[in-house]
Amino acid sequence: MELLDIIKPENKVFCKTEAMTDTCLSYCPGCGHGTAHNLAMEVVAEMGIIQDTIGVAPVGCSVLAYDFMNIDMTQAAHGRAPAVATAISRLWPEKYVFTYQGDGDLAAIGTAETIHACNRGENIVIIFVNNGIYGMTGGQMAPTTLKGMKSSTSPFGRQEEITGAPIKMTELVANLPGVYYATRQAVHTHKHARKAKKALKKAFENTRLHKGISFIEIVSNCNSGWKMTPTESNIWMEENMFAYYPLGDIKVNGKLK
């Protein structure tokens, strides 16, 4: 059979979602951001809400999320995305507003904005990609860097007696009444990605129902920052990150698990 006989619309089983642009992703090969972007945008496209969705990009590796997501987006100052999203959601209550943030953005510099947006129960989705390191600035220690984990600002490994323990943001915010849904997911295998997509779908559904905060943590890898191959980083993530940041739902429909 000729190749052109195979490439026909009726044989198509998968295509890129219209909610992603054709721009080549700028992420390192092996990084989970591309998958996380794609899953969120597939949900938006499948729900038919492209024209009702407004995204807020952070500062960090995913600062250029607006280059890849084919929706209206604004780019917030470092850590301030939940405040930016608060105003958009309040002024456009029928829109689906989400932030996409990394661990430095959400759990260090933007902790106050995160906590208070969650506490107010803003009707937004927070997508929190936790890879335990500052990727964009070149591999410095994050608030979520594991104990003993090496980074360029913890070259001998993170010492809890000096820098405190890695912060579990999802457990922290789940205790706030404004948070309706808090879950921790991963995207490094098909199985995990499918689960993460379900969680994202649930989150955007919650927005539709005006339920308040849906907080989706995605534990991901940073092979460049961790100085590993993509495969090694995924194995290391499963053995170490998942041990400290266990996957699964923490709060569902306003109830702690």
Binding site: T21, I50, Q51, D52, T53, I54, V56, A57, V63, L64, Y66, M69, N70, I71, D72, M73, T74, Q75, A76, A77, R80, A83, V84, A85, T86, A87, I88, R90, L91, W92, K95, A112, E113, H116
Partner: protein
């Protein structure tokens, strides 16, 4: 219908914000401007016009809420006082970079640091020389009365949307706290979302419809050429502001031999000092910059051919005086007088300074300096 009322400056500003058809106000309490958010909370503008008021967790959050609202083309304001304004400056720089129409109010108090809650004009540099990081300016309006606290709100929104840029109203604790009669402008209707999309749909984040490309609001340009292009675009706007939207007031300058330059609360006190001077037969005038940027550079340059000297009167140790000197280009002496730390100068103090620094000693010292340079 316009309406005559007796109000505090801060309250008049708050009421004017509702009447200007603003969509939202985000703020954080700080003396001496807390009446703005207190008034708005008590007034419940959500019931009157649908305008939203929210007390943020910090000035930082408030300015970033402004950024979010402005990203969608909404008419939005925040206010604070000096220490809070310092916190907001990160967001102000982003607003300028991302070219977002917005109104920021600083009811200034004394600094540096926690300073005092008393009035001050020591935030002039912060207001007109950038304040936040990077190549940008703010259009700055300086109200000198409760009436102007009210009027300048709508004017500020008009400028913000004309240029797609943040606008600062630089007031101080004196104007914010004092009560005067004020003629309130009639209620303007808030734009509907359909009207907003018609006006701002080319750039604002209102949801990507199939008939257009996505709208992106950002201040990031990783390519240097792109950032330079953006900065040049900003500066073209600032040049246009200087041509089209400079505001100032001149009192008794036609025959003046000496001119005082003062804005905001200092202009009111300098006006009284001018009256005292005129009573003594001294030909003194007053130039009041109403916009601090754009600054009345040409007016000062031209006046310098007619007068013997200028006195810049400010509630600071001398900030605007630098711009007066730059404008006058050494044609005649320019001196500064001002109390600081929250102390408000009296008309008598100003007149005394004018006589000592400009009218009498000024010329003598100027002469001495010339002699010294010859020797």
């Amino acid at each position: 219908m316009s309406e005559l009322k007796l109000m505090k400056g801060n309250e008049a500003l708050a009421e004017a914000t509702i009447r200007a058809g603003a969509d939202a106000y985000f703020g954080y309490p700080i003396t001496p401007q807390s009446e703005v958010i207190e008034y708005l909370m008590a007034e419940q503008p959500e019931k009157r016009t649908g305008m939203i008021v929210l007390q943020a967790e910090s000035e930082l959050a408030a300015i970033n809420m402004v950024y979010g609202a402005a990203s969608t083309g909404k008419k939005v304001m925040t206010s604070s006082s000096s220490p809070g304004m310092s916190l907001k400056l990160e967001g102000v720089s982003y607003l300028a970079g991302a070219e977002l129409p917005s109104v920021i109010v600083n009811v200034a108090r004394g600094g540096p640091g926690l300073g005092t809650i008393q009035p001050s004009q020591a935030d002039y540099f912060q207001a007109v020389k950038g304040g936040g990081h990077g190549d940008y300016k703010l259009y700055v309006l300086a109200p000198a009365s409760v009436q102007e606290m009210s009027d300048f709100v709508e004017d500020a929104f008009d400028i913000a949307f004309k240029y797609k840029a943040p606008v600062l109203i630089l007031s101080d604790g004196l104007i914010g706290q004092m009560m005067e009669k004020v003629e309130l402008r009639p209620q303007k209707a808030r734009r509907t979302n359909e009207e907003l999309i018609a006006d701002e749909g080319t750039w604002a984040c209102t949801g990507k419809t199939p008939d257009r490309e996505r709208n992106i609001v950002t201040s990031l340009d990783l390519q240097s050429e792109k950032l330079e292009e953006r900065v040049h675009r900003l500066y073209a706007k600032y040049a246009q502001m200087e041509c089209e939207d400079l505001r100032y007031e001149m009192v008794n300058c036609e025959d003046a031999e000496y001119v005082m330059v003062a804005y905001g609360s200092s202009a009111r006190i300098a006006l009284k000092a001018m009256e005292l001077a005129r009573e003594k037969g001294l030909k003194v005038g007053l130039l009041r910059p109403i916009t601090l940027f754009p600054f009345p550079k040409k007016q000062l340059f031209d006046l310098a051919d007619q007068v013997k000297g200028f006195l810049s009167v400010e509630l600071s140790t001398g900030q605007m005086v630098e711009d007066v000197r730059l404008s006058v280009e050494h044609k005649v002496p320019v001196e500064h007088f001002g109390r600081t730390g929250g102390i408000i100068h009296t008309p008598e103090e100003i007149l005394e300074a004018l006589e000592q620094k400009i009218i009498n000693n000024g010329t003598v010292r100027h002469h001495k300096t010339r002699e010294q340079s010859i020797l």
